[in-house]
């Protein structure tokens, strides 16, 4: 930020560094990681569990900072992101890069030393996947960006599980798959009513490239895949009645909201109520589904 009428730059505020970590995204990451940690069999000392969650949160923050460093020019073109510290000119770009790399090294190093090196390795890979594979490669080049890139957000429960057990079994992979198949309908619902924003930045989101009808079809189709994956832990006998009942209700609702999006022919963002409802519900869906899964596993244990 500059002081009016001169070219002296103020140092970035600590709140700007905090904003670089995308705190709202981090809250979902922390929650799913905690659920993975609680669902895992075995014991972990509370201090080590706290350290693992802190490292996962810090790793997510590093991913967010590196993402904002790379996308500063794109962010300036979108209303939703134009007020971020870099496009708003409140911070030097190099500071964001150094902050992101520092957080990444810190989170992976502490995870390895204090928890275990398997969870540290997955954490390192997830940061690399989000910052490089998704942000630099997929996002600007393919409308399938959030399908493949969704894997980056699906790692936290696997890392949480690995922090306790030191290995990866079928259930954490199913938790990974739930987030992986949840991401397309979640993001494409957002992309439908933010189409002009993404278009202005030249990001090839599905509604801009394939059109709204194709996007609505994809949302509805992925909702069935999500439902099948979400029921799988129950069908395979890994969870009890609590998760089973919750998953059935949540997925019936999700399919209902996705059906409304599929039926809609609205092209004006302002009147896209079904899309906004699905987007809002999808966030609630993930919180409730993972909370029920963790609680169910704790009760079974």
């Amino acid at each position: 930020m500059t002081i009016a009428t001169n070219n002296i730059s103020l140092p970035a505020d600590w709140r700007d560094f905090w904003a670089l970590t995308k705190p709202r995204v981090m809250s979902l990451v922390v929650f799913t990681a905690l659920c993975g940690l609680l669902a895992a069999p075995g014991d972990i000392h509370p201090v080590i569990a706290f350290t693992a969650i802190l490292c996962i949160a810090t790793g997510a923050g590093a991913s967010g900072a590196l993402n904002q460093w790379y996308e500063a020019e794109l962010d300036a073109k979108m209303k939703r992101t134009a007020a971020r510290p870099l496009p708003d000119g409140r911070m030097e770009r190099d500071s964001a890069l150094q902050f992101g790399i520092g957080l990444a090294a810190f989170s992976v190093g502490i995870m390895g030393v204090a928890v275990n090196w398997l969870s540290a390795a997955i954490l390192a890979f997830s940061i690399f996947f989000y910052a490089v594979v998704y942000t630099m490669w997929l996002k600007p080049n393919t409308p399938q960006n959030i399908v493949i890139g969704g894997a980056a957000g699906a790692f936290p429960p696997v890392i949480g599980w690995a922090a306790v057990t030191g290995d990866i079994t079928l259930l954490p992979l199913l938790m990974f798959a739930i987030i992986f198949f949840w991401t397309p309908p979640h993001f494409w619902a957002l992309a439908l009513f933010m189409k002009s924003d993404y278009g202005a930045a030249g990001i090839p989101m599905l509604p801009n490239v394939a059109g709204q009808r194709a996007t609505r079809n994809q949302i509805f189709g992925y909702s069935f895949v999500l439902a099948a994956i979400a029921i799988a832990p129950s069908a395979l006998g890994m969870t009890g009645i609590l998760y089973t009942a919750t998953a059935v209700v949540l997925n019936v609702l999700f399919l209902g909201f996705a059906f409304a999006v599929w039926r809609s022919e609205t092209t004006e963002a302002a009147s896209m109520k079904a899309e906004k409802r699905l987007f809002a519900f999808s966030i609630l869906y993930l919180f409730i589904a993972f909370a029920a899964l963790a609680l169910d596993r704790m009760l079974l244990a």
Partner: protein
């Protein structure tokens, strides 16, 4: 530049901290103080965390 032009009338490039007005200087110092306090909180938290991790790892409290 002629003898009668003052340095402030032409582009001198980025100004130094010593060239700031009192108001500007206070704004920079306030920002630096905020960052220093945030860093102090982070470092203090890390000290506590590393101490706790060490105690757990060496098994003092089982």
């Amino acid at each position: 530049m002629t003898e009668h032009e003052t340095p402030s009338a032409i582009d001198m490039g980025p100004r130094k901290v010593g060239d700031l007005s009192l108001e500007e200087s206070n704004a920079v110092r306030a920002r630096q103080a905020g960052r220093s306090r945030a860093m102090a909180v982070v470092l203090f938290g890390l000290c506590i965390l590393f101490f706790a991790i060490t105690i757990v790892k060496v098994g003092v409290w089982g």
